[in-house]
């Protein structure tokens, strides 16, 4: 029995990496579907999120030097759908009692990241095609914004001033940090929202 368990465990460990299969030996190659219609369709999600992002970018006046400043801009922005959805996410987090020193830390747990992105995706569903709900579509646009912001300093990309120092930032970590904490109101923002 012990041997069986050991063999099963070994097989499981070898093949259990999520999404990674032992296909090298069994994969049967087939032509991909690269029809013009399909290729056109897969641009639908980048286009939908790109429009939302661009409207937001222009409405808040571009990227700021800190995420807190960007949250202040979202508070002020009464025009874009994007800011409206972000504020709707903040509304549910006003009683969390997060301390200032905890806000903006990285990394966060996979579970926390997934929960935050899931809730936001549900909120954005009304504004993008149904099949485009994943916030992963935002990653390249946030990256584009951070690169554009970096150009102002002659750098490859901007690391916002409230991102932790003890991390080697690059894509895609920076976008994920940005999205997670953009969707989490800073204690100063919480206070402002409570007062209003």
């Amino acid at each position: 029995v012990k041997l069986t368990i050991a063999v099963l465990a070994a097989v499981s460990l070898a093949g259990c990496s999520v999404g990674e299969t032992l296909m090298n030996d069994v994969y049967v190659d087939e032509p991909s579907d690269l029809s013009a219609e399909f290729v056109e369709n897969i641009q639908e999600c980048p286009d939908a999120w790109g429009h939302l992002y661009e409207e937001w970018y222009l409405s808040i006046g571009g990227f700021k030097v800190s995420l807190l400043d960007m949250q202040f801009a979202v508070l002020d922005d009464q025009e874009s759908i994007f800011s409206q959805v972000i504020r709707s996410q903040w509304e549910h987090q006003l009683d969390l009692g997060m301390k200032e020193e905890a806000w903006g830390r990285w990394p966060v747990s996979e579970r926390s990241f997934r929960r935050k992105m899931f809730n936001a995706a549900v909120a954005f569903e009304a504004y993008v095609p149904e099949e485009c709900a994943s916030l992963s579509w935002l990653d390249p646009f946030i990256w584009r914004g951070l690169q554009d912001a970096g150009k102002g300093y002659g750098t490859e990309f901007l690391i916002l001033s409230d991102a932790p120092r003890d991390f080697e930032w690059s894509s895609p970590y920076l976008q994920h940090w940005f999205l997670f904490w953009m969707l989490t109101p800073h204690p100063e923002v919480v206070n402002l929202m409570r007062k209003s």
């Binding site: 299969t21 991909s32 990227f63 030097v65 400043d69 992105m117 990653d139 916002l160 080697e168």
Partner: protein, 206 residues
Amino acid sequence: LNKRLSAVLGSFANGAVTAAMAYAFGQAQSRSSSTVGSTAGSGADPVEVPDAIHVEESGFPTAADAAKAAGARYGQQGVDSRREVQLGIVRLGEDNFGYLTPGWGPEGSTIVDFGPLLSAYRGAGHSPHAWMHGHFDHNLYFSANDFPLVWDRPGATYLVNRRLEVRRLTNQHLQNAAKNVPAHYPGGLRGVQMYYHSQGLPGDRL
């Protein structure tokens, strides 16, 4: 500021210096509400299509072998130039695969519309068997945004990452991954994309 800049530069390793400099300036100017950057865009960035399209190399017994050869040839170039390589793998006969002249995304872009390159391939008389692209950033796996290429579809898509690993993703990988998606997530592709947003999926390393 100089003291702070030195401290921040010292805290970053391996080529993150330019970003660290931006960080330092960000630190210095925080709470100023100043706006940085001046451009905005929408949608995917267009691929740069080469003037002439050829079968660059052929004679590979499988598409995977052709992908490995293309990855070895263009992977580092993509990392160095911070541009996503995009190319088609073609089947030229029984046990004979090759790869076509690549196109390149704009510098720094992580979302590239490869449609114009595919059209150019067709215009040159080539019908790709599979598609391959590169990740110059630290995303070593297939991102959630790559999943639509093979979701509920035949064939495979290939990736070369900044470690020059060549990977293959198929619908089977996605269907296996879908089994781990919690029941409260949407079904189908978007649920898988949402659940694997952070890490993506590794597929097979070739």
